[in-house]
Symmetry: C2
Subunit: 235 residues, 2 copies
């Protein structure tokens, strides 16, 4: 097994109990003593730390801008990039199946381990040490962030994506409304030619429902694009 002290050095963090780091790196494919509970914990702590950091850093930003910056920072893709910069893949403890199929390169496994490491640091020395670690891990990204630099809303992003792919623009249709006048629910279909079926969104306004349907379409298209990318770059 690789020397965990090296990874602790990459993290610039001294563990009181290094077995916590070991557990954070242990994928569920190994067995029942794995990093899933730490990942759950790290996810919540990271969400809180990033949310408060952004809140104080951007006193003029709207809730929508703060939420978009936050999801951009804590999404799996970002966490996987940070995990790679720390070479976490080299320290993962994987079961035989995942080892053979290259699990150490998988974004979801790397992102999960990154969250678990954050959870492990929290248990090891508490919130303040954890805050310092997170600030260090995200320092560059936080410094470059401005409320406007971040992604637009899902409908705009989906439209821009379709334009860049030279595909027809998404088509939204209201399929039903329900409920009392002051408290309606809207259900909207978003039709995209490259998906066999429309995505569906529901919400308290037509616009909300459209945004949700667009968000679901974006996630599917991004999932597919990621796999294409990893298929060509790794195989």
């Amino acid at each position: 097994m690789p020397d965990l002290a090296i990874l602790a050095k990459h993290l610039a963090y001294q563990f009181t109990d290094i077995s916590k780091l070991e557990q954070a790196l242990t994928h569920r494919s190994v067995g029942s003593k794995n990093n899933e509970r730490l990942e759950y914990l790290g996810d919540a702590i990271l969400g809180y730390l990033v949310a408060t950091e952004l809140y104080h850093r951007f006193p003029q930003a709207s809730e929508g801008q703060l939420s978009r910056m936050r999801s951009n920072l804590v999404k799996g893709k970002t966490l996987a990039i940070i995990a790679k910069s720390l070479s976490i893949g080299d320290f993962l403890i994987l079961g035989p199946g995942e080892l053979k199929s290259g699990g150490f390169r998988r974004d979801s496994i790397l992102a999960g381990a990154m969250e678990a490491v954050i959870g492990a640091v929290y248990l090891d020395k508490g919130m303040e040490s954890c805050r310092l670690l997170v600030q260090k891990l995200f320092a560059e990204r936080l410094a470059q962030l401005t409320p406007d630099s971040i992604e637009k809303d899902p409908k705009t992003r989906l439209q821009e994506l379709m334009q860049s792919l030279k595909q027809p623009l998404p088509d939204y249709t209201l399929t039903s409304t329900d409920g009392a006048a002051h408290d309606q629910v809207f259900i909207v279909n978003c039709i995209i030619t490259s998906l066999k079926e429309p995505t569906i969104g529901s919400g308290g306004s037509r616009r909300d429902a459209e945004q949700k349907a667009a968000q679901i379409a974006l996630e599917i298209l991004e999932d597919v694009a990621d796999k294409h990318h990893s298929a060509t770059s790794h195989e």
Copy 2:
């Protein structure tokens, strides 16, 4: 305007700066100085507090059980119920449009205000006061919680819902797979007779994709059911 000291009493919390509570109760329909940033902050803090509380309370629970308990506790419906138990609706500050249309009864507005109040307490006296408040607000629910008492996975819940409605069971079909062998993406349709279009889920396994499609279907069906309920109970 109703006396905020009464609400502070319901919360059993003494504000250093009562204007923070006032802001937490101010809906965006009033204008630009509203509770949206506090709601964003409260959401992240609540997520963290509930996640750590569950982590320590249930040392044997799996990540899946912890996540399900957490989303059950922090979902809008639960927060709206707690907000109602504190009579937060009586203290909301709403714009004329929302006032007329009965916004003080709306679950989404009540849940948002509940999160904003948690954010306000955090800013007013810090994390430890906030933790005590959250523990108090959720005490009954936490005491009744067991890892098994909580909802099953989305596919199971959707199946049970369809059975209880005497509707045909959901039908899942794989519409595409993509990516390299070790890192595929699966796209699945979930067909439900009462929805005009199938919902779509994507994921790293067929099962994950089915769970996501089921989750989306559940959210839409629950949205619709809620509105039916509020339409009959309030109008």
